[in-house]
Symmetry: C3
Subunit: 341 residues, 3 copies
């Protein structure tokens, strides 16, 4: 975390006269929630650059609120774009601007990133094509000679999530490079590793789903929304992969597969002091569902829950104090029931 990093940097500076490092935040840093940490870095005289695709709040003259605290800010929303150009895409393009020679090593990364984040759009399709072409060619030259498909990009993204769960705050240089296949002459080792990690990850997910699916309560509401509720505290394995957020996601995917992706489907997983929410695009398109707005409404209606949270329109989380959980969840479900097409 940032405190730890700051401390180590300060120590190095004091002891060895080293310059303070440049901090590059990716996939977070654009929202006003990030301002406290950014202002702390500023106090130490550290430059921070943000590369993020989350909604940064209102953009005025190409600037968001956070721009006051950072030395650089890359975010599609600043120039009229949206979150479909994910952090992995942006970071790759920034790296290529700095040094174009790295292109062959990382040109397939955006394709993995967009598949992992369920992004959509024309650029997304292009990035996927680039990744498939590159990996297929490299596999032919240095690997097993397989034809890469979107399914393979999904596998790589899942393995990255799986390994990240175990790496936590370790930087994982070495393992991460193998998983992301940046060392293309060694792609045979990447392919073998992905096969093994994917099998392990799927075993862990199956184990979790075996516990979770029988406990999932699914109901078709009067307004047509298919709502599923899950107590992850009681019916999921804890402190293991997949964590509550992903567990909710996999349970949601399971329901979506059953009813169809075009149906309005919401899945809520909750623990003692948190909730995780996933919804299909149909809910946002037909019902104007926006998780961030509901969170704001709940903060106002139940201040004593000391709520925070949010995320994307159709995927995010809530945090509250344990004693107010039932009131928060009951009200949340009420709001969903009252939504109209």
């Amino acid at each position: 975390d940032i405190t730890k990093d700051l401390v180590y940097s300060l120590e190095d500076k004091l002891r060895f006269g080293q310059k303070m490092p440049l901090i590059v935040l990716t996939d977070n840093g654009s929202t006003d929630e990030d301002i406290p940490a950014l202002s702390q870095a500023e106090a130490y005289g550290i430059d921070v650059v943000v590369i993020d695709h989350h909604y940064p709040g209102e953009v005025i003259n190409g600037k968001a609120e956070v721009d006051e605290y950072v030395s650089g800010h890359v975010n599609p929303y600043l120039v009229g774009g949206d979150s479909n150009l994910t952090a992995g895409v942006l970071a790759t393009e920034v790296a290529r601007m700095i040094n174009e020679e790295v292109t062959p090593e990382i040109c397939h990364i955006p394709g993995i990133a967009v598949v992992g984040d369920h992004a959509k759009g024309k650029e997304v399709e292009e990035y996927i094509k680039i990744a498939l072409k590159d990996l297929t060619e490299m596999s032919r030259k240095y690997g097993s000679g397989r034809e890469y498909t979107v399914e393979d990009l999904h596998k790589i993204a899942l393995c990255m999530d799986f390994e990240a769960f175990y790496l936590r705050f370790m930087n994982g240089r070495g393992v991460v490079e193998e998983i992301l296949a940046t060392n293309k002459r060694e792609i045979h080792r990447h392919e073998k590793l992905i096969d093994i990690l994917y099998e392990r990850a799927m075993e862990m997910i199956d184990r979790q789903m075996k516990a979770v699916l029988p406990a999932l309560k699914t109901e078709k509401l009067d307004n047509g929304i298919i709502l599923s509720i899950l107590n992850v505290e009681k019916y999921a394995h804890k402190f293991t992969f997949p964590a509550p957020g992903k567990t909710c996601g996999f349970a949601h995917d399971n329901i979506v597969q059953k009813y169809g992706e075009d149906k309005p489907i919401i899945t809520i997983a909750y623990g003692p002091d948190f909730g995780v929410v996933r919804a299909t695009d149909a809910v946002s398109e037909k019902f104007n569902f926006n998780l961030n707005l509901i969170v704001e409404q709940l903060i106002e209606e139940i201040p004593e829950a000391s709520l925070d949270g949010g995320g994307h329109e159709c995927a995010g989380s809530l945090k509250f104090v344990e004693g107010l959980r039932d009131r928060v969840l009951t009200r949340f479900i009420e709001i969903i029931k009252e939504m109209k097409c």
Copy 2:
């Protein structure tokens, strides 16, 4: 913790023939609870020096029970003093005895320490004066030129608590020095950092109080004591600043502000297997309240709770097994209700 430190020291000794280090324990080490750890250090041939202001048990000929296990022991109680000369005061004075030249760098530390520990007395007033004079002068020369007040010392102490929560067992060299303003020619950076940290700390405390205060149950007992009870497990944010002890303290301060510092006020915050207690001096003065004696009584009356705890007369904690919580708390409250002026 001590086991980890011992292990690393032993490794260094075995590998590089280094001498075992001298361990200096500050703000703990004086009570008989510390004897097990101290005797382990002794077994490895490590010298330990204790600088502490907690009550060390009965003092006979200037010696406490723990003196048998340590090479040096600084504690005001050994020479007829009390806990108002806090560990920060004592450590500063010891440092000055070893090397008087450090005085200009640390002469303001005792003032921060006594304010942070709510100490009282003539010496305390003197230390505060020294700190305010020094910091004001240094700010004029190297900083923002502000006039320091007791309120500023409170802010520095709070920022130190806040940062310590995130540092945990890291030593934090660099950050700690900035917060404590020991590098006086850089006091402008200290001032900027305190402003930012203080704002963050207060935001976190406000967030906690927003959750906690509506859940605080306050009652005026027949004997005149104003008793407040709080379930921090259910109505406070966990694993975040402020932790349960400080949360209880801030909630207590809130009640004290409402009724007046001269009133007998007790605040108890409890979790599944612990309790934290704060009381005004009026409770100890008028009702002979002494947390340590009540803990002893509970240990005797409810042995199956496997209780321990204590601390100062008016501030401390209890630890017990979860299943006996209700019996322990009910009896604790009974004892408070039975107390007489």
Copy 3:
């Protein structure tokens, strides 16, 4: 854990061109539960050697299922033996085969290992004799001159458990060597350290038993089995020595001492999502009790509990999702009640 170790090894390899290390797993690695981790190591091109005494599943032509994934596998079951030659015995003998000159330093280790694991048999008796003779001789030459007994080996094993609890994943070189008395010319320091650690460990165990024993519910079943149940979540200190497994063991020992070791006695300690089981040999001999078979039966009968676990016939653990705890435990107890001589 293995992920962390792999990451560090990979980093070293990439940065400094170091060879990948040989991993030696002791006291685990023989069962099919270990295959996922072993296949991950294989994917990185790392050789793994297993030294274990747990039942490795069916042995065909001297090979177990796990042999496909490891470079070497030492396990008594592969050659018709059983778990009484514990991992400490096997590791010592392997070390002696590699370099016989270490024999004087480690010849007493197997004696400590078998006593710690409650092993039985002729070889076990021999190892104990060797250890007692060696330690007594060394104590006479370099230590306190005491006559070592089996009780002393128990103490050393307990101190090792106690220290291991605090060391966790630190390697503890230095402390571990002192506790195991491998540096025999310094055995006087070992003896002093064991005295102190043993006293501390017993204090911690007494504290735990004071909480646990009054909460232990013991019942004599119709089939003659003496069954005790304990809720460690509610009636034991947590995150402290002894952990739930050992706590169950000490509570079980207490009951065994009361009724006699030849009686059929089962003790179950449970938390929110786990259970620990201890049984006397009489239960397995007279009732054909085998924890591993019961676990398999429960997995089949209650799939939604997403159970795993097992261990030895008479000692092991269960892991399940919290919400199914009551069903799992109720069924477990039913199975015990239905068992017949």
